[in-house]
Amino acid sequence: MKSLIKTIVEPLVDFPEDVQIDVKEDERRIIYKLAVNKEDVGKVIGKQGRVAKAIRTVVYAHARTTEKKRVILEISE
């Protein structure tokens, strides 16, 4: 899942080396925390969250077929 998120996000940003994903997991869910360079935050969120929504749609589609737990993608600076 981490490498899917990286594959999606890195080509969208100006500083791919600053793309970081932290994972937190409990019994019910897995939270992926995506952090990008400050300059790139707007790019991964997009106008009215359009890009963030597209990233989540692809990630959650994959999660439904591979993960039993609920997957959440958080985007932060």
Binding site: T7, I8, K43, R50, I55, T57, V58, A61
Partner: protein
Amino acid sequence: MKELTATGTTVDDAINQALQELEVRKEDVDVRIIDEGKRGFLGIFGARPAIVRVTVKIDPVEETKKYLTKVCKEMGIDIKIDTSIEGRYVYYTLTSNQAGLLIGKRGQTLNALQTLSQLVINKYSDKHRIVRLDTENYRKKREESLIRLANRIANRVAREQKKYSLEPMPSFERKIIHNALAGHNKVTTYSEGSEPNRYIVISPK
């Protein structure tokens, strides 16, 4: 980005040197001359080699195709892509044995991949381009079912004289419905809400 500094007795010589090494054609690269070099006396005294910096240009259409292939691969879907270009529209037709997974509920996965691909292509392209993704003729089938839906709801709105909101859709799908009902004499259509949750309302005239 692939780039290379090359030297040669002349600038052309240095460029050819670089092209051979990178295995590309001249039209695929940008060349910056760092030093034009000097032939020197009898080609020996005071001679200085020419130095060039050669950068391989990124083809936005190819780069986006690679992006799609990689993302789908990470999703566990192997795809084959056919590309066609019409003006600023770039059409990618995907073939895989898991088209259902690629399309998602009401096309939402395909639409998300389309949004992301369009960002990638415009990152590399100097003119604005629009990406359209399709698989298994989904777009055509979806258009037909949207038109059927539009007519069915329009009849109901006309009969009950009560407006009806459809579920949120991307702009290119809303356009299909607006067009389908543009000539209807008993109902009118408009959009409400803000992207990405903008939806169509069909209301009595």
